[in-house]
């Protein structure tokens, strides 16, 4: 629905001198979606996020936040978005409570609502027990959470988080994932990272940015699959036999390669191996298949996965 399109970026381009940081980048994020922005360092992620947050003007293209063009309604748009830069903008001498209250005031929240907004932000980011402590005395993980809390303290509809899980341990990353799942019910989220596994865990959609251009946009969750390489191609009846194996959702064949979609590749793999051997088919290789996204990302990063 059009009314649910909270971020609409159209044909954005941005140059730094002769360096083209962003080229013809378009992206639409609807309410309820959390998009992971994936790319190597220098891919243009931060530039795109700064443009969407109203910190940077594009050389070309337009941005609409909650249906309003940010160029003409910057103030109204920024009141409805929360932004966490790569380095959290923290005042180390402030207590968490004072800092969050100041952030809410700067975003134009009414004075009488501040205390409840601060409490809610602390609750969401698991900061309740450190509210009175000085930010400078907190661990890096807590400081990162305070950074996230400042972005959402005024309860924005659009959240732009640049590397929100940087410096967090696996448990804290899991907490951020839960928080993002909770937030995306009412918001549109854009989260950047250069770690594929992390981004696919915390976002509903993924966009891959490489050298300033989008190379992929789509849902992050694809059904996992097994890749089987046999010594010979299977006929239709043999394929049906394999496809009927318990746990197999779908089957595609490309010459001697078979791809079996499933819920749990780890459980299915030994059963497939046993079945293939039992049928007397020459089994050459059996492995968990890479998703298209993984393949693309590893191509871009130059990492070879066998």
């Amino acid at each position: 629905m059009l009314g649910d399109e909270l971020i609409v970026a159209h044909a954005l381009a941005r140059n730094y001198g002769r360096l083209s940081a962003l080229r013809d980048a378009s992206l639409t994020i609807r309410r309820g979606e959390s998009w992971g922005l994936l790319g190597l360092n220098g891919a243009g992620k931060s530039t795109l996020m700064k443009i969407l947050a109203g910190l940077l003007a594009p050389d070309q293209g337009t941005v609409e936040i909650c249906g309003r063009a940010i160029g003409e309604n910057r103030r109204a748009c920024q009141a409805r978005l929360g932004y966490l830069p790569e380095t959290p903008p923290l005042y180390l001498e402030f207590s968490v409570d004072d800092y969050l209250a100041s952030c809410a005031r700067i975003r134009g929240c009414e004075r009488r609502r501040i205390a409840s907004l601060v409490d809610r932000a602390k609750q969401r980011c698991h900061l309740t027990e450190v509210g009175k402590r000085r930010i400078g005395l907190l661990s890096k993980g807590y400081q990162q959470r305070v950074g996230i809390a400042q972005a959402l303290v005024h309860e924005p509809e659009v959240l732009i988080l640049d590397e929100p899980t940087a410096g967090l341990d696996p448990q804290q990353i899991d907490e951020v994932r839960q928080l993002i799942n909770e937030l995306r019910k009412d918001c549109a989220l854009l989260i950047s990272s250069h770690v594929l596994q992390e981004i696919t865990r915390i976002s509903s959609h993924v966009a891959v940015l490489h050298l300033g251009e989008f190379r992929h946009q789509g849902p992050s969750e694809e059904a996992p699959s097994l890749e089987v390489r046999l010594g010979a191609s299977l006929d239709e009846a043999q394929c049906t036999l394999l496809g009927n194996l318990d746990g197999v959702i779908g089957l595609t064949q490309n010459a001697q390669r078979l791809r079996l979609s499933c819920q749990d590749p780890a459980t299915l793999a030994p059963r497939v191996a046993a079945f293939v051997v039992q049928q007397g088919w020459p089994l050459l290789e059996l492995q968990r298949a890479q998703s298209d996204l993984e393949r693309l990302f590893f191509e871009l990063t130059g990492v070879v996965r066998t």
Binding site: Q78, F94, Q150
Partner: protein
Amino acid sequence: MLAILEKELKGWFAQPVAWLICGFTLALMAYQFLVQIELFFSLETRLKQLAEAPGVSQIIAVPTVGAGAALILFLAPLLTMQTFAGERRGKTFPLFLASPVSAWEMVLGKFSGVLSIFVCLWSLVALMIATLAVGTTLDWWLLASALAALLLLTMAYVAIGIMTSSLTSQPLIAGISALSIGLGLWLIDWTPGLQDDPGVLALLSSATHFRSLASGIVEANDIIYFLAIAIAALVTAIWRVHGEREVF
């Protein structure tokens, strides 16, 4: 703007250094006040012989306020150098740039934040001087005029500090630049021959305008001088901060 003012004050008084600076300033002012009282008592017998002898206000109040003016030259750069340069250096500037606040709100918020600290300090100094009224008659007009001169000088020098801070990401450079401009404007007065032939240079001297106002002679040109410096510096800062957040 009020939100930024509140944040500035909260930030200042969350740091021990702010309390240290305020304490140090008040101690110096109190010392100067006591020195002037001492001087008054030492001159008292000779003053009684003069037909139009200067009173308590001229000998104690005005020089005490004058000491405040000398302090401003150093305190204004010290208190303003972090305002914008510190935000850039600490990477906290995006907090403002991504918020629904305009450049003028940011600049005026920070300006009024630092100015409020000085207003508090000078109010305490005024109160200290006003205690003389318990034992003697004060020239209230002269005292008000001297304090107004101090406030105008403070406004101009704080605005200069805000401007230099908005132009760099190095607080030290901002502080040194503000100190250089402030001292330069003050020391123009010392140019040889200026006393005999006051020309354009005298018009630029903040010391000349301050002394004129502090001695009870309230003239529009002195007030306009300080206001013009403050406005020019703040407009420059607004222009610079506005440029930081690129306009679509």
